[in-house]
Symmetry: none
Subunit: 413 residues, 2 copies
């Protein structure tokens, strides 16, 4: 027995006036999602707990069976790991942006005009050569990832994630002063190192030929690095240690890849999978079918639904749901459902109206040979609420799936 978990990022939504008070999921044409609901057991699920809007990192941790409230230790380490940077257990990692500030450190553009990978790579290469003065046992790694995005890892024996962001998260605001968030010497040291480093990065960027050239070309210079989300590798057991399974992740988003890698899952790269609305949905479905040959558990993550919701683009969100439905259609046709359980859910609700993650529960449907099939005929936020699973927590899902495929241990005699 094997299991596939499809997570459509931010697919769940709230009713929208323009859709005659339907949600995008309710308004979409989705024969495959409905088939899964109809042949499966349905329910609603609070990724963390009712009313709590989860990040995609905490939600995915939770859907993988971990108690995110206990083990989550910041976004940075997941971003770095997911971007291919090796993060060690005591490293503190940050998500960074190349950005543009004026002389008073007011942010003009948080993405430095969505700087090209080429420019960002050259700048990052130079930044990595900077030497930190003290303490001598602290080092850093700086890597650009996609466009303006980058990761920073600070490595040393006595560091802490209790440091504030420098990223004010809004253009027009001043860069935040980096401060320790508690009284520990570790937090003070980390803040001091980070502050010094940010100053040096800024000095080097101000002088760099690439930026002089950008100004000439009328582009905003990438003259500062903004950092946020200090994070350490959470101390968790891998899925293979917990359930004795071979588990893989198919997904393009660095944050999700980082969470999955942290859970000991193998990452599978799929050509054409981009983490954007232009991703190749069928390529992902094919990769999933193939991965089932040699693995017990496949997590398939699709980012596109979340992107559309953050942009408040209801039409695009419906379109993305319909593409996910086609992706599922391929999977239903090519997976042996006599020996495979297929679960479909979202990691959180993203409201197309507020444009943000919200705390409403998400729909969940599980089909497969021995589920207690219920009366739900349609996949949606409200129809699934009438299903046989009733209301569960995100961290309950993995034990349920692992129990169905015979990978849980009895508690007691």
């Amino acid at each position: 027995m094997k299991a596939v978990l499809v997570i459509a990022d931010g697919m769940a939504d709230r009713p929208i006036k323009e859709l005659n008070w339907k949600t995008p999921l309710e308004a979409a044409r989705k024969p495959s999602l409905n088939h899964i609901a109809k042949t499966g057991i349905c329910g609603i699920m609070d990724p963390i707990s009712p009313g709590v809007p989860p990040g995609s990192d905490t939600a995915t941790l939770s859907l993988l069976g971990y108690d995110a409230l206990k083990v989550y230790s910041g976004r940075g380490a997941f971003e770095a790991t997911g971007s291919g940077v090796d993060v060690l257990p005591d490293d503190v990692a940050f998500r960074c942006n190349f950005a543009t500030v004026d002389d008073n450190f007011v942010v003009l553009d948080r993405r430095a005009g969505r700087i090209s990978n080429e420019d960002a790579s050259k700048l990052a290469e130079r930044l990595q050569k900077i030497k930190l003065k003290k303490p001598s046992n602290v080092q850093f790694l700086f890597r650009n990832t996609i466009q303006h995005r980058a990761v920073l890892v600070i490595r040393g024996p006595k560091l802490s994630t209790a440091v504030g962001d420098s990223d004010p998260e809004k253009a027009g605001e001043k860069v935040s002063d980096i401060k320790p968030l508690d009284e520990s010497p570790e937090a003070r040291l980390t803040a001091q190192v980070l502050k010094e480093l940010m100053q040096k990065l800024h000095e080097v960027l101000m002088q760099h030929p690439i930026n002089k050239d950008r100004v000439k070309r009328g582009l905003p210079p990438a003259n500062i690095i903004l950092c946020r989300g200090a994070g350490m590798f959470p101390k968790i057991k891998s899925l293979s240690q917990i359930y004795n399974i071979r588990a893989v992740c198919i997904g393009a988003t660095p944050l999700i890849r980082g969470v999955c890698k942290t859970a000991g899952m193998k990452l599978i790269d799929v050509k054409g999978a981009t983490g954007t609305p232009q991703t190749d949905f069928i390529a992902k479905a094919k990769a999933t079918v193939k991965a089932l040959n040699a693995n017990d558990f496949v997590l398939l993550h699709v980012k596109a639904t979340d992107v559309a919701s953050h942009d408040g683009n209801v039409e695009q969100k419906i379109e993305m749901i319909e593409k996910i439905d086609s992706m599922l259609s391929y999977m239903l046709d090519n997976i042996n459902l006599d020996e495979t359980y297929l679960a479909v859910t979202a990691d959180h609700t993203t409201s197309s109206v507020t444009g943000g993650h919200e705390g409403d529960p998400v729909p969940i449907a599980i089909t497969g040979p021995y589920v207690r099939r219920d009366d739900v005929e349609e996949y949606g936020e409200r129809t699934c609420a009438n299903g046989g699973l009733n209301r569960i927590r995100g961290m309950d899902l993995m034990p349920i799936l692992m129990n169905l495929i015979g990978k849980t241990k009895k508690f007691g005699a």
Copy 2:
């Protein structure tokens, strides 16, 4: 007001192909169960938490309102207590089997040909006379219970449950070496004492006339004791301390009797109650009705449904459910339901397909004067999921029942 809780061991199941994808409970003729569902409030219940397959001991602890994840400390102490052996707070107890090994300690028969009570008693009497050498403050108690089953209690001031089993749980495998499971001196001492004792028991059994006689008669000699499930008495308050009630248990299974005794419940012996499919269901119903006169809470446990499921015997499971239904019919006719709440559930799902305990929720129905009666018309895994209790945890049930009979205290002002 009084309450009866009927626990049908492993009664819940998954849909089965031969039953046209019904569960045994759904396929059974069960007018009394349906009447309870129809006149009561229904729901589904996770004995421990979603997806976690419980043992009958952890599940029963949970259904009695205890947090099994916190208080469970192994099966052994329950088995011993339930078999009538007095277990003291610091004792370490084991479930044992009389078994047959060859000269290389490979297990030939884990039950020594299901040795008779008579032979086992004589052997146990001799084994109890063995003297442990050191340390001088450690003693042991060895008692045979039914056929090949026995319990061992090790008593001393500095013992631990962190010791491995000697029982490999499978014929054809070698007897496991007893090892401490952590680094504590207590675990080392317990493992050392147990190892020495097991060796002595083996030596005495090898020489015993009963075994020589068994070989002559062509029977497998009971030449070794296999032990497993090291357990200590959990440190819990009794039900009478928590709710100020008189509580009794009607059930034949030593493990369940042990849990109930540990919770401070009185054990009632019923003639003809055997813990097997041949048990006298009506005798148990009569004993329950009688016990309500002098007590506030009666737990009635039936083992037969679990036995049938472990054997994959779907027909027998249905038959057992129908017998439970007759038992409930007698109770409905003879209990004053104006002042008694009657709850019926299972301690866990046992799949007739996998033959093991599974992590699916169990149905629960509570009837009685003031429950919020819902629309459920039939007792079953799926119908109850539509009930007014929605989905609760095992440890929630006892507070619900105790509140209905007016035995809970207000939390706050």
